[in-house]
Symmetry: C2
Subunit: 77 residues, 2 copies
């Protein structure tokens, strides 16, 4: 894949980080996924190494956890 994926769950920390990441990386270079709403993608995020949101999975597959909004357990709970 060539795009990064930004996973979030709609929390205020997430929204703030989303704006920063889009400004930095460019809107066309990042897919934004709200796993609070699109729960079918929670497993995909976990498989990518996402332990908390907001997180950015880079094109080379690294999970960068950014600040701290919510743990995956909180998102699933």
């Amino acid at each position: 894949m060539s795009k990064s994926i930004f996973y979030h769950a709609g929390c205020p920390v997430c929204i703030s980080a989303e704006h920063d990441i889009i400004n930095l990386v460019g809107e066309n270079n990042v897919e934004v996924v709200n796993i609070g709403e699109d729960r079918s993608r929670i497993q995909e995020a976990e498989n990518a190494g996402v332990n908390s949101v907001p997180a950015l999975v880079t094109p080379n597959g690294n999970a960068l956890h950014i600040n701290f909004g919510a743990s995956m357990a909180d998102v699933k709970g």
Copy 2:
């Protein structure tokens, strides 16, 4: 300022994140500061809201803490 500043302290988590951030943002758009070596800039990082490294301070002044390498207390200690 128009550049982001990436603060790190040379730890493995920091170096990995540095590569990811440079790939994402572009080498010319980010200043990399090792506050483990350049200790005169620790205060500047703290003033920008950096609580742990690695962290990226965006052009609009937000501190994004990325994964977790070391607390500022560890860097100073």
